[in-house]
């Protein structure tokens, strides 16, 4: 088992390196260059050249790549061209916010998805199953940013139940007691997290329903039924237990979805996270920020995949992990 994990870990490192390499080449190969300023702030060619030399952008690409790799190995992510701050600081602010948003959404979508799937599987071929099937199909087919806008319109603007922008209420946040501050963030978290969670819960539910129905038809469930165990106990104790590993797998493999969703949802709700940082950096050609964001994204995806692989290996002894 240890060797298996070590091998997957080594692969994760390779794939993160590949992500960084591809992103590095892509942003440097793209037309358009940083430091040119906006049309309003046209800098003289000398200033641009000096700035580019300062960041080493006038060097040949292989040299830039080598330099980046050496710096990365020393744990240096460089400086943002636009924000004039170390990239590490920018990410240190943004990443926890995205983890809070994505983590909340992931947890909510797992609970909601599994509950819907269990309800459907327990009442297979009944009205509940059909209705939930339609609901999950619709949410599975909704564009997440549009759902965000609809939730914002209904719960934020019409009903005024929840705040619609940012992570805190700027005017009062700092004067609140610690618990009040946490509640303030939680209230701001509800709508963006719900947008991400509802769509992903539908995906989880569709997958888990099929998996549960398959498990319920399996031999050990039939024998449990033959022993006269109540249906409820069968579902909770036998079928759902078998669904645990696939749930962890699903959660691990859903990381890319939450990253992609965060780019869209964070811009709608003004959530100061990785998605917004990345989006702004791409348009500003802020090379160091883009590459570092890709690095973080690559690490998160790789960790998700690792968790998925290990969960499958632990749950299913038929998978020979030592090979």
């Amino acid at each position: 088992m240890l060797r298996f994990v070590a091998r997957r870990l080594a692969f994760a490192v390779v794939s993160v390196a590949a992500v960084v390499l591809v992103t590095f080449l892509l942003v440097h190969a793209a037309p358009g260059a940083p430091m040119l300023g906006t049309p309003e702030t046209i800098a003289s060619p000398e200033v641009v050249a000096r700035q580019r030399a300062l960041f080493g952008l006038d060097r040949p690409l292989p040299e830039q790549l080598l330099r980046y790799a050496v710096n990365l190995a020393r744990g240096r992510l460089g400086e943002s061209f636009v924000l004039h701050r170390p990239v590490a600081d920018v990410l240190a602010e943004a990443v926890p916010n995205t983890l809070l948003l994505g983590g909340t959404a992931l947890l909510a979508s797992l609970l909601l998805g599994l509950a819907a799937a269990a309800a459907q599987a327990a009442r297979h071929h009944t009205r509940t199953d059909t209705v939930l099937g339609v609901v999950t199909l619709v949410f599975y087919s909704v564009p997440v940013f549009w759902l965000g806008l609809v939730l914002l319109l209904v719960f934020g603007e019409h009903l005024h139940w929840l705040p619609v922008a940012g992570m805190t209420s700027a005017a009062i946040h700092d004067r609140l007691p610690p618990l009040g501050r946490a509640l303030d963030v939680a209230r701001h978290l509800v709508l963006p997290a719900a947008s991400l969670a509802l769509v992903q819960a539908a995906a989880f539910a569709r997958f888990q329903r099929a998996a549960l129905l398959e498990t319920l038809a399996a031999a050990h469930i039939r024998s449990a039924r033959a022993r006269g165990l109540p249906e409820r106990a069968i579902l909770l104790r036998h079928a759902l237990r078998g669904a645990l590993a696939p749930t962890i797998t699903l959660a691990g493999l859903s990381v890319p979805y939450f990253l992609a969703g965060s780019v869209l949802i964070e811009s709608i709700f003004g959530w100061p996270g990785l998605g917004r940082v990345t989006y702004d950096a791409i348009f500003a050609r802020d090379y160091n920020v883009i590459t570092a964001a890709a690095l973080v994204a690559g690490v998160l995806v790789a960790l998700g995949n690792l968790a998925a692989d290990v969960a499958v290996a632990v749950a299913d002894p038929r998978i020979r992990v030592d090979r």
Binding site: V19, V22, S141, P143, E157, L259, V301
Partner: protein, 281 residues
Amino acid sequence: MSPWRLAARRFARNRPAVRGAALVALLALAALVGPLFAADPLAQPDPVRLQDRPPSADHLMGTDPFSRDVLSRTLHGARVSLVVGVGAALLAVTLGAGVGLVAGLAGRRTDQLLMRGVDVALALPRILLLLAVFAVWDNAPAAAVVGLIAATGWFQTSRIVRAAVLSLREADFVVAARALGEPGWGIVRRHLLPHVAAPVIVSASLDVGNIILLEAGLSYLGLGVRPPTPTWGNMIMDGKDVLLSAPWVALAPGLALVVTVVAFNLAADGLRDALDPRAAA
């Protein structure tokens, strides 16, 4: 009866699936014919007095902040969504099937190389790559959107096809065909492809809806097929700022997206159940 006829019969008996397929056909027809009768989607008849008008007899779905007709723009937007969704899914599946066949049939070294490459590619954050490319590519044509979405979306299919080929390669009927001296390409065409086709069709059809949503997300950010060409994504972007005063601007393209993706997913679920009866539930 051939397995394909059996599958067609199972599909025809699946009512939600048939409804989904009919809806897809209807949407395709609307995208094809609708724009011929609708108003000019770019015309701005009176940007001052006709902006953000609610639905009326003249403008059945109202007008947007530039006084453009929302119905006409929704119909034109359908073209982008359908072409990109179906086109990219087909291209991706072709690429994936090609790589999967090569990996399954070529030697161990080629197989290892291709599949490790696919493993790494699956770890790439797709949205980030697409954002980076389209951010620098001003006004990319629809073909480029199709190409790039396909180029970043074939990895899963190649795994499915490779696994199928590996198990089929040693099947009795393939071994027999080889013993009878059938050339390699003949074996691929007559024996492998028909068996690989079912999972490939299922995976392509399940992809269409997701790709439509992906394209909408990109054009919501102002990327890919860019304004003023109407896409459902950039129409929602236009409607975002007038969400309170003129909700129809964002609601019309959003509902169009939901209906379209639901239709494709219903049909795709039906195809999966018809082609893989064991998975049917």
